[in-house]
């Protein structure tokens, strides 16, 4: 009886030890494979074509239809226009980066492709006032890094 127990215990022990060795083999395998990480910020991964970074605007294409402002789930866009006869021109186009959730719905509904999602994602700032952006200013994103498209 005791012998049977001893044999069972030894068998369990050997199976247990073998499982530990198999685990060690898996770990050792990856020591010799190259690393999968990038050394940020010297090496960066280019973003895909459809990447949804910050919102950008081509003011010449905009027909001031207000669809993007109505579609935004968090109401981060604020548009005003000037009416000259039958034509509408853009007066202000404010973009509150704190509220933007990068969903891409504004770019999806725009009929002319005036509002687009750029590839800027490194957007930390020290001053909160910088997060209120005027999209009509062509130099607005100059100090932020633009990653290239894959």
């Amino acid at each position: 009886m005791a012998v049977i127990k001893m044999i069972k215990h030894t068998k369990n022990f050997v199976i247990g030890a073998w499982s530990l060795i198999k685990g060690l083999a898996v770990t050792m395998k990856y020591v010799f494979r190259p690393a999968v990480t990038l050394q940020y910020p010297t090496e960066k991964q280019p973003m895909s074509e459809r990447f949804r970074g910050l919102v950008g605007l081509h003011p010449e294409k905009c027909i001031v239809c207000y669809q993007c402002m109505k579609m935004c789930p968090t109401a981060c866009l604020a548009i005003t226009h000037k009416q000259e006869d039958k034509k509408k021109t853009l007066e202000t186009f404010k973009y509150n980066m704190e509220l933007c959730c990068f969903c891409g719905m504004c770019a999806q509904v725009c009929p002319t492709g005036a509002i687009v999602m750029t590839d800027i994602y490194e957007i930390s700032v020290y001053d909160r006032k910088k997060l209120d952006i005027n999209l009509l200013d062509a130099k607005k994103y100059d100090e932020w890094t633009h990653t290239s498209v894959k």
């Binding site: 459809r50 990447f51 949804r52 579609m71 935004c72 969903c103």
Partner: protein, 373 residues
């Protein structure tokens, strides 16, 4: 006769707060434990630290505008949340989507299931002390899935891809080679996890027979998902109430035997394998056609109500929508699977040592974003 009497030693239970910020609890969960030495007598979870009043916000957003909010419920399995909500709205509107949209939805939902289970597996191993290695391996695999999603819809975590009527845009060119490459890459990695963790003697000693959930208790508390299947109940919404095109694919539902933590973990590993099978079949059978039916942006459904449930990686995710004819829903209720799964935790940890509560909590794979909404 001399008698020696020992005076009674005065013991009392003491209260520990396994507080909201903690290296092991998944998200901001506070567990109030009443301990008697090393054994837990009572456990009370306190939730609500991540409450963002999503259901109230839904009453002021149109049906399409609410889709980015559903991303942030169960932020690890975004596509499944989008899918559940959109299918509930489509049931309300009696809308049929095209075949291609259904196949694409199945592919992204299953890929996201794999990604979510990878996090569950990695963090479970980390809670048990395998300090960072399984977690890094899981994140390395997850990176490939996220890369695929980045190419498809442009975001890495909150996808906002599935729309009412189909999907946002069609799959880009060359994505099916990437997916097939991923499937070929992933299969040996799941065997790696088996060798590294599943049958490891120390892992077995830490998780077998810990936190056993009996069948009737699971059903009474409406536990769903892998935690229910680990207790031996054969219930999976993809087979029992098939939606989309799940009835055209061949896959198995892994069922556990004991209902302990090891079973819950093992079921997730097996589900990764089955999801790979589904994705492979779906990619091969992808039909041509339009990715979305043309519908307007503002929907005004007739005053009615609809409830639709889908199989989230964590269980049964249900959306109950009541509409009153306007473009905003009157009431939107989200049935989160982790909420019911967490409710059964106080029953399971009575009489268990402190070191095991982390194991039990980790094996249930709860996510606070869902519970608190």
């Amino acid at each position: 006769m001399d008698t020696t009497r020992t005076k009674d030693i005065y013991t009392e239970e003491f209260l520990i707060n396994m507080g909201p910020q903690h290296p092991s609890t998944h998200g901001v969960l506070s567990l109030e434990l009443k301990l008697d030495g090393e054994i837990i007598r009572e456990c009370t979870p306190h939730i609500g630290y991540l409450h963002r009043s999503m259901e109230k916000i839904a009453e002021n957003r149109t049906y399409t505008q609410f889709i980015p909010f559903t991303d942030r419920l169960d932020y690890v399995a975004s596509m499944n949340n989008n899918l559940g909500y959109v299918m509930a709205v489509e049931k309300l509107l009696n809308l049929e989507v095209s075949e291609r949209a259904k196949y694409i939805r199945v592919i992204v939902a299953e890929l996201n299931r794999i990604a979510s289970h990878l996090i569950a597996v990695g963090t479970f191993a980390q809670d048990l002390g395998a300090f960072a290695t399984p977690l890094f391996y899981c994140f390395r695999e997850r990176e490939k899935i996220i890369d695929i999603f980045d190419r498809i819809c442009g975001n890495r975590l909150t996808y906002n891809y599935i729309r009412i009527g189909g999907v946002q845009f069609d799959l880009p060119k060359g994505i099916d080679e990437k997916i097939k490459e991923f499937i070929k890459y992933m299969r040996p990695k799941v065997d790696d996890y088996d060798n590294l963790l599943t049958y490891n003697a120390i892992f077995l000693a830490r998780s077998k027979n810990i936190g056993v959930l009996p069948k009737d208790l699971a059903i009474n508390y409406s536990v769903t998902g892998p935690s229910l299947r680990a207790s031996g109940v054969k219930w999976d919404l993809r087979k029992d109430e098939p939606y989309l095109v799940y009835n055209k694919f061949e896959f198995d539902i892994p069922i556990g035997e004991n209902g302990d933590s090891w079973d819950r973990y093992k079921i997730r590993i097996e589900e990764i394998r089955q999801s790979l099978r589904i994705v492979e079949q779906a990619i091969d059978a992808l039909p041509g056609g339009e990715p979305a039916v043309k519908v307007g942006r503002i929907h005004k459904p007739a005053p009615s109500e609809a409830y639709f449930r889908t199989e989230n990686p964590r269980g049964e995710l249900g959306f109950y929508i009541v509409s009153d004819g306007s473009m905003y829903p009157y009431r939107l209720k989200i049935r989160a699977p982790s909420f019911s799964n967490l409710a059964v935790l106080p029953e399971l940890v009575k009489g268990v040592k402190i070191a095991d509560i982390v194991c039990v909590l980790g094996s249930f794979d709860v996510l606070m974003g869902e519970i608190d909404r």
